[in-house]
Symmetry: D2
Subunit: 277 residues, 4 copies
């Protein structure tokens, strides 16, 4: 007996659920959980099914491919810990939240390394016996720094890069090299307050609620598909530093929640949106 | 071309999704939306599918019944306005919210009548040209009052009774007569503060958040299956009257949200819980 | 015995609380509630005090003016219903919510009239015996329409204009004529999605939370001081129409909450922010 | 120049604000922040003022005592790190959240020790170079275990005991010994689901929202004054274990938020409620 998550996305057409569930039925598999979504505007079909039984991954994958449209994207994933690399700068709350979950065995991922452009988080990372790699920006330009980052990443093996408050803007080149593999936490309720110091922007705009947004990173700064968002109420008593401090709690929870979804293969990307099962 | 909502609940067994989707496929129906849930503890299967195409309701229902377990509960519902009766007492916020939605054509129900044990809401109800029936409690006991309520209801035709802040406790007899047809809004975050004056109880307990709960009514007071809940933050500045006032906004929104779900056939009842698709 | 709300704002200086509370003490007044705030960035002092006792409004106001800086803004307000004019277009949820509160005596305002650029809301308004004034835009340009609106408003007496989903952009001239007297509900979580059809924008951006914002109207579209905001979670199942429908509940509650604050003299405006006591 | 937090609570009487602010004024102190609250039901006055200037703590305290009622509780507190002891059992999320804040210098407290009835959290605690004391329950009864806990605590010096998911019930004797010094995080939205395994209770009740409550511990289990609460939405897809997992995020944030308030002297206890400035 084993388990798999079957993820399918393709153009919608009549009979898809029937044809796919027929494959499961004829292979003697149990459907433990099944979710579908059809985007009516784009006529796209999304399905995520948890099956269990006795099967070969390749056989199942091929059997499904035989009944769905040619262009379909079919993934049969046997649950296993993903590997992630964390990028950070100076703030410890997002990194710390991930480390504590990791230690408790609740993260569902192996942390390969923490890479940072400052040394501030070295001590914290080492407390958890995780490799800390400092890639300094001193005396080098953006291009050179990114080149070194790519070298360091090239020596690691990972499924996702998690920007746990990594305060550097990534180039197009970097983003495209790791397409759909980079997850960021932005310290605002996107699309409000794109860019630098969103808490100061929020303070000056006099908002009554602040938030945070976890999203996949694309070439357009702060514009990638949103995975998770949450908010917290503030008022006139909050300086922008108070907002920043209150916001940190939202940031870390939203990032960890997004990671949980991605690491459990619950997120489809469709255009600039996510379907989250 | 017509649309139907197919709701099925039965014991779970292998192949259910396959067998049911096969029926849809062979009848040439489109699946516009499909949701399933299996309660692992009780091995119960729930499915709600929106289909469209050319079909007879009876034919479809029988075709499904032929492939699911004998004890299965199968409903094929062609979308249509349900009929509701509103019960109220003196407060107008929940009733008013429903009336405004009704007038805008957003309620998806026909309001047959408003029945109240006081006359306070007569003027408001009449503003909307809806029958207002006053069933006074003066000079009669609980039993006699309920008997008269049942008489009045007996002359009406309805799918659901909505308790829009009806401040009388219903007897077992009454509840059983209209099993799973009565929806109530309770002015607390159940199961906290069951019984009388929950806002005063909340104030005395010093809570920092208050809430409201929409639920199906069963013989056990404030114990029926919950459909919807929401909350709002309060603080030491709130007297219990302030809590009551703030709570009214939550009450009316939670009740209307629950009605929306029930009137669109999106709620299954299972034991003391609801499955909401 | 009478009550008053004393609102003071001025440059901060040492001894303000002492000097002002001395005035209350020497006049034999009770302080029933007292709130202060100092904006440290701008060195501005804000104070709102509920006092009760035997006093003349002018005497109290003059006594306070004698102890605070010359430029201080001092208001002694005896609680009374404000008068408001509602501007609307076609949607009834925000207007309806205000009407229901008004009927229950919970609005703390007298509604002088509803003015609309369409006739859709005439029937609803008339149900509540409130004057409905239709100022059509047919065959006339923006300038001419606004001129007629100003004429109509000129014949009314009011403290605030409430834009209850009034879907026309107001000119600088109009806004300045009624400075700090116009309250709007914007159907997004400002500053996200300024401008037209924010729900469509939100859908396309793939956000997981939508919101609404009540604010004072200034010449800069959707940029005035925010009074109140709230949000609601959405997901990939929501079309933009579903978002709009869910958003309406947030809009009406946020607007009514903002009105409650303004009508009870609990809001100071400072630069582009509000201090809400 | 130094800062102090002045906390006063006493019976309300006319002129209190005047008399107290006169003391500040005559000592030449700045009022940086000032908050008051009068509980009308009990006629109790609460005031928290942040002052700065040149002063002696004793002189200021005595000057205030001279103008307020004899029974008044007057505290002049110069901001300094409090000392806390953490009690835990097996779960690491609440403890971990506090440790990460402590490491970042954001906790405003010194952690004297972690005491646990199991050894599971020893490794995590040691990662942060904080003393871990294991007080086993093996082979001894409740009374004996608590005696040993009290011995261990007797050798430490602390302002507060923080129950970071300490899963043992404390005796009256224990609680009274450390009156108003014990802060607990309860894994439910109190007063719902008092007692054991609240998530299982919540699951069985079919609630749509779960929560957590930080409160001072009194002799009545789960009945002490509430400091902070928060909630998160759940649905029928959540098993009770899923609720527990989602609830952990709420628990740790609510506990840390409560700690932040208490450690900054922002909480008054009044009857079974808290006034939080």
């Amino acid at each position: 007996m084993k388990e798999a998550r079957v993820l399918i996305d393709c153009s919608d057409e009549k009979g898809l659920v029937y044809k796919i569930s027929k494959v499961f039925y004829e292979m003697g598999l149990n459907i433990d959980k099944n979710q579908e979504f059809v985007d009516e505007q784009t006529n796209k079909f999304f399905m995520r099914t948890k099956v269990s039984g006795i099967f070969e991954v390749d056989t199942l994958q091929n059997a499904i491919k035989a009944v769905v449209p040619l262009e379909a994207h079919v993934r049969v994933i046997v649950p296993a810990k993903k590997r992630i690399v964390l990028l950070a700068t100076k703030e410890s709350h997002a990194l710390g939240d991930i480390l504590i979950r990791w230690e408790a065995g609740e993260l569902n991922a192996q942390i390969e390394a923490v890479i940072a452009n400052h040394k501030d988080l070295k001590a914290l990372t080492r407390r958890f016996d995780i490799p800390f790699i400092h890639v300094s920006t001193e005396g080098i330009d953006r291009h050179e720094h990114e080149k070194r980052m790519i070298e360091v990443l090239g020596e690691l093996s990972f499924d996702y890069i998690v920007l746990a408050k990594y305060m550097r803007i990534l180039s197009d080149n970097f983003v495209k090299r790791f397409e759909w593999k980079i997850i960021n936490i932005h310290h605002s309720f996107l699309p409000a307050f794109i860019g630098a110091n969103p808490y100061k922007q929020a303070y000056e705009r006099g908002v009554k609620i602040i938030g945070a947004t976890a999203h996949f990173v694309t070439s357009d700064l702060d514009e990638g598909p949103i995975i998770s968002q949450d908010v917290i109420a503030v008022n006139h008593n909050y300086s922008w530093q108070d907002m920043q401090s209150a916001g940190r709690d939202v940031e870390k929870i939203v990032l960890s929640r997004a990671l949980h979804l991605v690491l459990n293969d619950r997120v489809f990307i469709h255009q600039n949106r996510t379907i989250v099962f």
